[in-house]
Amino acid sequence: VLNAMQLEQSHWSGDRWSPAAPGRLGADVQLVLVFGSRVALQRRDLLDEIRRAYPRAHVTGCSTAGEICGTQACDDTLVVTAVAFASTRVVVASQALAEDVSSEDAGARLAAGLAPHDVRHVLLLSDGLHVNGSELVQGLTNGLPPRVTVTGGLSADGPRFERTVVIVNGEPRERAVLAVGLCGDALRVGYGSVGGWDPFGPERVVTAARGNVLYELDGQSALSLYKRYLGDKADELPASGLLFPLRVRNDRQSRGLVRTILSVNDKDDSMTFAGDIPDGGYAQLMRANFDRLIDGAAEAAGISAASHDGHAPSLALLISCVGRRMVLRQRVEEEVEGVRDVVGPDAILTGFYSYGEIAPFAPNASCELHNQTMTVTTLSEA
């Protein structure tokens, strides 16, 4: 089929490629998505091989807390997905996160870098530890025309929370953000983002917070509260904090957002979250509900696929939260299989476990940073 996008996927695992080394589509490829462990991404030979295989492509991607390839969730591998669009054009902008550049500024600069007026959709990949995801999304969407949609995620570093990288021009970069603009009228994009966590216990007032740093809930140390609930798992903070995401909202009427911990600081008794914690707002601990996590993934895929006018999507990009993987463990592939059941057997599935997901909560809603969700972006060309 000449007027549809072509895809090729290669999986590097245990020092070999399967089903084959990348390169079959060669110079037809405009965009390559590479998701892998930080260690694998820092192997120069592998990225060089990918660049050589697709000489005219933008080689992009990021480090993960697990790669999604088909219906498998893997560790310490590379998943390479090459896309040869029939008519869609690809533009890329990147920005380093420096001390003097706020997350919002970085987002604004990305928007300015995606100059073409016919951008339909933006895939946003970001550093996972040194960013205020809420502000980044705000800066980017403010700089784009309203009709442009944005999805993406924050890169990850397994359960370590130490260093994350974003692939910019085929090179791993720390403290970087990347925007891939997809241009043209032929592109069809769908997206859906669903959590599946249950709030429990008392809803608390955020009595001390600044930006994405939380100090106190109900006048008590938030970190101490987490340590009480985690018991002996408190030693595994910040990763174990993912077991209790926080539902935050500005008032008791709104739906609120789910936030997870990026880091803790025992010195000033603070916790840094992936997005803003509204000072004076409300916060409530959440816990996993296994069945709802798995059903939620399929639900997100369903919402996403509904945007393709009855056609099956060609590519599904799954960005799921590291917290879900920690909880689901051996059952984690059930959520990927749930997506597969929805999008059909022909779609290529790729993606990663992240430190944050970026998507509108619902079609036509404004884009937001989420945590603890499965966010599915589906692409096809008419």
């Binding site: 008392p202 609930y229 018991g231 798992k233 601990l285 051996q330």
Partner: protein, 457 residues
Amino acid sequence: MPERFHSLLRRQLKRCFGGVERVPEECRPFVEAVNDAYRQADVDRVMLERSLELSSEELGEANARLRQAILELQAAHGDLERRVAARTDALEAAHERLRHAQKMEVVGQLAGGIAHDFNNLLTVILGSAELLLESGARDRFESGLEDIHNAAQRAAALTQGLLAFSRRQVLAPRVVDLNAVLHAIQKMLTRVIREDIALHVEPAAAPAWVRIDPHQIEQVVLNLVVNARDALPDGGRIRLEVENGPWVTLRVADNGVGMTPDVQERIFEPFFTTKEVGKGTGLGLASVYGIVHQSNGSIRVESAPGAGTTFTLSFATAEAGANGDGHVAPMPAAVPDRDVILLVEDEHAVRDVIREMLQRLGYEVLEATTPFEACAIFDRRANDIRLLVSDIVMPGMSGVELAHRIAEERPELRILLMSGFAEPGAGAQATAPSGAGFLEKPFTPSELLRYVREILG
């Protein structure tokens, strides 16, 4: 190696394979995965149990705080309601007192006005009757003149009561010990009550100094005791009690028939009486009310049908011995001479009668109808005039003012002021030149003579 496996898995492996060590090599990864799932399930369960326990605890505490807050709120609400009710009651009571006081004020003004006019008329009637009685007409009209005289005197007593009620009586307040006042009249009170009534007088432990007109307070006590007596048709006891405190209080209590609230409401109104026709004037408690208020005191009544009645009078405590003008010199017995008297009175009939009285007593009388006319006469005959006899209430200039003007020029001139009633507020006595005498209308020629002699003597 065996400890690596979950206890439940160990038991299952033993049952299926005969022990952990007998698991086939190719099944090892499978067994490891199951073991991992078992262990993880335990960890998840512990985490869930702790979450449940902690959040239940927290919710319980929040619930307790909420319940406490509700209790406090309810208490505060109840307290607020009680305070609102108390304030409403107090406001209603204050409003009722105000309404009552306003009514008494209006009635008082009316009574005072009537009494004033009547006093002028009575001065004429009484004076004329007496003058006629002393003249040749006596022989022909004796009984008629006596009747006129007696009726006028009863009418004078009536206007006196009205004036007392309307607080326009001329009072001569002094600092007195209320204990001593009661002691002085105890014998007289015993005569007023009947034998089947016991009178107890309980003075305060220390002298109870108050600034009042002693004669008027005697009248007040007498009135209250007479009322108590009439409330005891089958005998009983009357208790008079003086107490020192923030105020000096005098209680007059009986264990008689008592009063309904309706009656209590009206007892101080003039001409309100529960006594048989002809037995009471209806002015007793009205004048008590007036005198007490004019003396800057207050009076309260507590009563219920069958439960007796207690009147409580309160006066400000005065400083002992702060009198200065307490003692009145005895009246000297002097004979009239041809002294010249300047008489100022705007009421024509009253002036005529007084002039007639003074002339009969042998004085030369210069008459003036207004204070201004009096000033003119004084300018001409300043050196002859020994006494100024003047009405107090006159249009244009009061008698007190006139007295001051004349006293400025002739300090040795004697002054006698007459009035139908005391001026409300500051009394004429307080503002008149020192040494001035006061005479209340109506008066008889003999009373006038006594005063004139006293002043000139």
